[in-house]
């Protein structure tokens, strides 16, 4: 049976990306600094799946899961997916870290202020936005800088299915990584916090929800890896990618809930950062294009 588990070189690349984000202290930030973006580009991550990127979907999802694990900020999923849509000077700028892209379904524009390319997606078709339509900055659940506007469509981008499939898998992988970070944090807390003369992790009512979250999240990670393997062999139907995204979303949201429960008031307090990650999970699960993410057809 063919392997679809991450390969050593993929894991090594993922570790390097993790170290980069952590060394720049940008875990959980609302948006990525220019310096981080440049270094991600220098490592070849942003254009990984583009024509000259040298990588494929499996490389991307392993890397994206690792970046989710350090809550890497910014439009990393949209930009890496856009590498399959853009060409010429725009693709060069993207690869060099001088261009960020984001997707919209016509109203909401994640990280609009820091993005120079806006791509509108509707019913599986994609267009470069000719005009963002007077975007207005809005507050969001996870405090990330989004805007709302009325973009007008410019040039249609040919054959976006592959890019959109990669986007769904990228979001899925990121959510898996975020959820694993939370599960580890919850378990660490349960190993130390003492009540009734025992660490709370000794009690099944605390240990089991975290274990269930671990099982579901591990399986989601395996599913994302399998779907990326299918995509590399030209056999990941867009509906399959949407299913993977829905499955990963369910697992990540359940994990977040379990960890909040295990950590009690500490999880509710700002200082532990649990809220940053759980709101990140909720908001990224709804990154556009999402309107068909929960539709079977």
């Amino acid at each position: 049976m063919n392997e679809f588990a991450p390969q050593p070189e993929q894991l090594e690349f993922a570790r390097a990306l993790t170290a980069l984000v952590e060394s720049r202290n940008e875990s959980g930030a609302a948006d990525a600094s220019a310096g981080l973006w440049t270094e991600l580009a220098d490592m070849g991550f942003l254009g990984l799946c583009g024509d000259d990127g040298g990588g494929g979907p499996r490389d991307l999802v392993v890397a994206m899961e690792a970046l989710g694990g350090v809550v890497c900020p910014g439009p990393i999923v949209a930009t890496t997916a856009a590498a399959l849509l853009l060409e010429g000077s725009q693709l060069e700028e993207l690869n060099a870290g001088r261009l960020r892209a984001t997707f919209t379904e016509g109203v909401h524009m994640p990280w609009f202020d820091s993005c120079s390319v806006l791509i509108e997606v509707q019913d599986g078709q994609a267009w470069l936005a000719a005009n963002p339509g007077q975007p207005t900055a809005v507050r969001t659940l996870s405090a990330e800088p989004w805007a709302v506007g009325s973009p007008t469509r410019g040039r249609q981008l040919p054959e976006p299915a592959r890019a959109l499939t990669l986007f769904d898998l990228g979001v899925s992988a990121y959510l898996v990584g975020c959820a694993r970070r939370l599960i580890d944090q919850g378990a660490a807390h349960a190993q130390l916090r003492t009540q009734f003369g025992h660490v709370i992790g000794d009690f099944q009512a605390v240990a089991h929800p975290l274990a269930i979250a671990l099982a579901q999240n591990n399986a989601s990670s395996q599913l994302v890896g399998l779907a990326a393997f299918e995509m590399e062999h030209g056999q990941c139907h867009p509906a399959r990618a949407r299913l993977v995204r829905a499955a990963s979303t369910n697992a990540a949201l359940s994990a977040a809930a379990a960890v909040h429960q295990a950590m009690g008031g500490l999880g509710f307090a700002v200082e532990t950062g649990v809220g940053v990650v759980s709101t990140r999970i909720r908001q990224w699960s709804l990154l556009p294009p999402v309107s068909r993410a929960f539709d079977l057809a």
Binding site: N2, Q204, L210, A211, A215, H233, V244, N250
Partner: protein, 383 residues
Amino acid sequence: MLWREGLYDPYGLLLSPGERSFRDQLTAFLSGYDGLIERQFFRGRGGPARSLYQELGSRGWLSMCWPREFGGRRSPRSFEFILWDTLAYFRACRPDLGPGLIAHVLITKGSDELRQRVLPKLASGSISLCLGYSEPEAGSDLTNVQTRAKVDGDAYVVTGHKIWTSDAHHASWMWLLCRTAPFAPGSTCLSLLLVDMATPGITVSPIHTIDGHQVNEVFLDEVVVPVANRVGEEGNAWTMIREALAVERHTQVLPGRLRRDLEELELLLDEHGLSDQPLARRSLLDLHCQLAIVEAGSLAAVAAIGAGGQAVMEAAQAKFLGSHLSQAIPRVGLDLLGTAGVIGDNEMAFLWRESIMETIAGGTVEVMASMLARQGLGLGSRT
């Protein structure tokens, strides 16, 4: 859905040419086999199921993953998974205990004499076995087994009481977990014996279950078992069966069975004109999500076993997630079908009853969660 339209094969890309060829052969055989009865998968391992095992055995399929010196082909364990998963999808039969869990222990721990005597019969599928594990006071806590086997010359004299014993009413042999000298409590004095079910002193009493099936109580009253029928060293059973259970666990709730359950639900919804209702679509999406992660997790377990690992965590994960999904499908199904769902003997009503035991038998989901907590997260020492 994609696979109903022939657009998606969950294992398609992963199969080697040999695995694909085997699956094709097996599918062709099952498609033409007229010995299946309705819901045979859920009716135990005797009768028509035993006939089917013999057909599989005659093709060498029950022992294909065994070492060659014991009559196998040394095929990768993935072939076993493909075999039982496909049979589950066809609602044909569950994994046969003999060529699987029992043979693996015999091959590694059994005496030469026992292997020569028993393995060919297991490979042929001609004998049926039951697991004499659980007792009234030893369920999840299996180390609390009280059935005693005292040495008398070249035999053990066994007295005890087993319960929830599947297939005992038609089994030829029992794979018996019992306590041997010095009869200390805990796991250190547990031994494994192969017991001929025709031996005087054995009484099998049915326990009828809510899915129309039967398990059993087995009473052993001074049953004489040759010492030669002991498997491995005295007192070493716990290690043997724990290892075997952990690895075989990934075949307890097979994705093929769950895929078939979900297809049956979709067919029922079609028949009742409910498929396009928004609630049905959303519910089916959730179930398909769960099935997708169960499939991926099972495949990851198979891959890990194939790579030489024991995949204990992966197998526990597969059992945990799969057994919950086996209950979720009929629960959602009956919710969507409404009153029509409780009328007659439709598939969702049957699965609702049957699946109640899936989170209990073969290791409860609580035990699985405890294993995951302990081994995955370092939590739960009081479990």
